[in-house]
Amino acid sequence: MNQLEITKQAELEALLFYYGEPIQLKKLASLLKIKEEECANLLNELDAALRENYSRGLTLVRGEKEVQLATKPAFQSIGQKLIEEEFKETLTPAALDTLSIIAYLGPLPRAKIDYLRGVNSSFTVRNLLMRGLVERDPNPAKGNIYEYRVSFDFLKHLGLSEREELPEYEKYKDVLKRFDLENSEQTEAKINLPQT
């Protein structure tokens, strides 16, 4: 690394630490006055440094558009005493069913979740949204439809740095494609359930 890179690396750490919450990659690059690709490289370097160095207690949690600094899962027991009750989350059968679909197949619209589960999932999805385990964004193509994906908080309960670390992620992620359901209008047309 050259001098500039070293400084940017330090600034990156300071920003992630200071901000605390997941920060948009775009915002990060703009604050560091670098391009998004450069920012991605810096994050990769930081990620590698944290993973390789066993005297570091921190790790990155990464999504497609955001990144956050968090403690490594190995240190859960130390923090345990400090963790507030409000962060504790148990999963009901419906929540587990819905979460695993969103985790492996998301982002996907609620109509598809309903279709796959054969159940109107509006209450379960709303509940997961309220608990912060799931997040939603408007579909970029169809603005009036939300797409659901798992949140960083979901990953943190599982101790995963990114969704791709889910066990057998590769095996499941293309299930819909295999059944030719990926872009099927069929699913949306067949169930005319109210959208949340």
Binding site: I83, T90, L91, P93, S100, Y104, F152, G159
Partner: protein, 254 residues
């Protein structure tokens, strides 16, 4: 919210259907769906009667009824080969089979989430701007009208969220029409009992139909309570003649 919460502990219709198929150690296929139709209806009856731990939400029963009607179609076809299904109905049955296969596959991923899930987060992060003092930064373009407008919009959305009943009612009414229509077609089928491959085939079918109609009827009453709609009676005329006793019994029990 307690009422909706109970929903979280019930298996959905696909999940339950899969259970029945797997209990019989069958692969997912049209044939195995026919094989578990009675199990499924019996379970639905149990759900409806509240023989389970807590009261079953109407939404869930509605979802079960949708699947039940498709199973019935399939079973009708198996018992009465002369019954012709429309293209749409054939499609619905294929669709159910495919959905079950997909669900079976996706369901197996649950174990990974379940095993790795910890009640407390395994990774901890910091709050937003953790060690910083508060400084007042007034937002631009936010005055009294914006605050009022935003608040009213939220209330509007809430009205929507808490009024799902009408939709459920519509779904159930559609289902009821559909089953009545199938019954109509069955009675119109130029078949005598003696023509049937097994004599009890038709009887079994009628019992199944009655069971589902009966489930739907109760659902309609529940959904209707909301706006004081009058009770809907179900016409079973065609059966009053041919299968008089059976239908009559069912009528009188209400």
């Amino acid at each position: 919210m307690a009422y909706e919460l109970s929903l979280e502990y019930y298996k959905g219709p696909l999940d339950k259907l899969l259970d029945f198929i797997e209990e019989k150690k069958l692969e997912v296929s049209t044939l195995s769906l026919v094989a578990v139709t009675s199990d499924f209806l019996a379970y639905l009856e149990k759900l409806k009667k509240g023989e389970t731990q807590s009261q079953v939400p109407a939404e869930l029963l509605a979802d079960f009824l949708v699947i039940a009607s498709r199973l019935l179609l399939l079973k009708s076809k198996a018992l009465l080969p002369s019954l012709t299904l429309s293209e749409e109905e054939e499609g619905e049955i294929k669709d159910l089979e495919m959905r079950l296969k997909i669900y079976q596959e996706i369901k197996s991923s649950q174990i990974h989430i379940k095993e790795n899930w910890r009640e407390s987060p395994q990774m901890l992060s910091r709050e937003f701007l953790m060690n910083r003092a508060v400084i007042f930064y007034p937002p631009k373009k936010v005055g009294q009208p914006e605050i009022l407008k935003s608040f009213q919009a939220i209330l509007g959305e809430l009205e929507q969220v808490f009024k799902p009943v009408a939709t459920i009612k519509n779904e159930i009414i559609n289902l009821k029409k559909k089953i009545e229509e199938i019954i109509g077609r069955l009675t119109a089928t130029p078949l005598k009992f003696t023509d049937l491959p097994t004599g009890k085939g038709r009887n079994e079918l009628i019992v199944l139909f009655l069971a589902v109609l009966h489930l739907i009827k109760d659902q309609l009453i529940v959904a209707d309570q909301e706006d004081g709609f009058s009770e809907i009676t179900i016409a079973l005329r065609p059966f009053d003649k041919t299968q008089g006793k059976q239908a009559q019994d069912n009528h009188e029990s209400h």
